[in-house]
Symmetry: C2
Subunit: 343 residues, 2 copies
């Protein structure tokens, strides 16, 4: 059996009350006594029974996902998973909510973060593009005692805040290699389409993509990124332009999480069967395109895993317990038509 607070009290030679004061960092204990208790914790390997503690406290965890104000199919899938997790975790006294509140403007987004109250929220998962304003707002959130994870977009190295998402550089490289190998000995130009190249995620993917093409597939030349800005007419125009001006386009890499515009524009311009097309994120649309062999591969991150990973991290940090690192690595998935159905 695991040692309890009673065992700890005995081992430290103090009373239960003092153990309690130390464990919960209450005032009124001499430094030496605190140390004695901490030594005893080490010695007997005491670990607080978090469930009993939560029971006594009547505690519940309140975590919130702060998502972009507007989004695409991928965001919708993420929201579905949040709701699923919400229903499942309610039994474990974890209250999950989400708000599609973060505007593109970093200043306004930072304001929203400033409005998160530590006495109403134990932790937040933030999905927003990197910016200095956001970084500051995050730091202040942490100082107020709110747990934070950066969700999907963001930088892995912004300590002490956890990041949940994939390495976009590697994701771009993966896309590049698949395109290169699927095109085999063919040579020609590759269309690269993004919603916007302002987001760090897109830039990283592009860098990873270009590195692989130039290193291992020099016969393929990636064209400068086309930006859709979420506008179908514009997208169709720029895509048509490209195909008209460049005779030897043999494939396309669709960078963003919204593949529909780009792919519909390509379909409207040329026969996709003659092109190798790789896009990102599994949505109902990309699934359909894979099945219809319009898309050749999809590079994806599992939304359910992302959501649960964020929640587990927030909970582990709230409990001051180390997370299980290997479980929280988000994998770069490659989807083709054959591994799409999970059973």
């Amino acid at each position: 059996m695991r040692p309890t607070t009673k065992d700890l009290a005995k081992a430290a030679g103090v009373s239960l009350a003092t153990v309690d004061r130390v464990l919960n960092k209450r005032a009124g204990v001499r430094k030496e006594t605190v140390e004695a208790v901490n030594d005893a914790i080490e010695k007997i390997g005491f670990v607080r029974n978090q469930y009993a503690a939560n029971l006594a406290r009547g505690r519940n965890y309140r975590f919130e996902f702060l998502l972009p104000e507007t989004g695409d199919d991928f965001l919708a899938t993420v929201i579905d998973r949040i709701q699923e997790a919400r229903a499942a975790m309610r039994l474990d006294a974890i209250d999950i909510s989400y708000r599609c509140a973060l505007p593109n403007d970093p200043h306004k987004a930072a304001e929203i973060l400033a409005g998160v109250a530590a006495d109403e929220t134990d932790g937040v998962a933030i999905m927003a593009p990197e910016s200095p304003q956001l970084r500051d707002a995050t730091t202040r959130l942490v100082e107020r005692g709110v747990q934070v994870v950066l969700f999907i977009s963001g930088q892995p190295d912004l300590r002490p805040v956890d990041f949940v998402g994939v390495d976009n550089y590697a994701a771009g490289a993966t896309a590049g290699r698949l395109l290169g190998r699927f095109l085999a000995p063919t040579q020609g130009k590759i269309l690269v389409i993004s919603e916007t190249m302002n987001a760090l995620d897109s830039v990283e993917r592009r860098l990873g993509f270009d590195r692989v093409l130039s290193a291992d597939f020099p016969r393929l030349t990636p064209l400068p990124s086309l930006e859709t800005f979420g506008d179908l007419a514009r997208t169709e125009r720029v895509v048509r332009n490209s195909y008209e001006n460049q005779a030897d386009i043999v494939g396309a890499y669709v960078l963003g999480s919204e593949a529909r515009l780009a792919i519909e524009a390509i379909r409207g311009t040329t026969d996709p069967a003659g092109q190798v097309i790789v896009a990102h994120e599994r949505t109902r649309y990309t699934e359909k395109m894979l099945r219809e062999r319009v898309l050749d591969a999809v590079i994806a991150q599992n939304p359910g895993h992302l959501v649960r990973s964020a929640i587990r991290l927030l909970k582990a940090r709230s409990d001051q317990r180390p997370p299980l690192v290997s479980q929280e690595q988000i994998r770069i998935e490659i989807l083709i038509e054959d591994n799409l159905d999970i059973r």
Copy 2:
């Protein structure tokens, strides 16, 4: 706040003692009273607080992984993950153990299963090839009140027992399509190597593989399966034979979870750079081969996910709670050199 047993007692118009008798299926309650309590459970949406219940019981979960007596690198990885999970879950009062005990002989394996005592074990995860003996032994285990999941190998449709693993037919199809696409317009023969074709898993992979090749890559002809039987000398001999007798072998599909023998044999016979080779399962060896570009792709299932999924299922069944289905789907992962490093 969630309703408690007190609320339930009030709602059902009975005492706490009776609620307790009903909840824990103790005798001495009239049928009508039981129904009244059950109706009240529905009405107020009572869900037992499992943590408080476990606390009161002093309960801990005892789960055991029953693994093959002998195994390969993949099995070793699985064992690593079991030990990792074991350390992490001890804090949640989940005791995990494993035994490499199951021999190849189905009768002897069934004997081992017959020896699992319900009063010592809450659940077992069984990794063993399908067989009628095993099916019977499993059924008897369930009857004795032991939770069972079939782990990695086995049949998804053997109710009421959960299966944790991938659809091997789809895994084989995935391998087939990658091989086909990577080989692009090349035509020729494909070596298919397995440790043994006696296991259902291998047969299913082969079927999925053949289906894709014949349907979509008719220029590629898969050769009859070569079996290694775990013997390097034998493997080298049959592989060498194949390459000598068939001039136009352009790739290889390594079916089993032990890729080393087959790949070393190929390397000893021909230049792997001229071949497209696809194998299964991520191990230190297959990782290395991907990085060295001997292997072109690896079809894998995540061992950590498999292990944790099995444990979550066993726990959910023990608690009589429905598992979160979408979390327990094991994905067929495609690994290439670029998505190998997870951050």
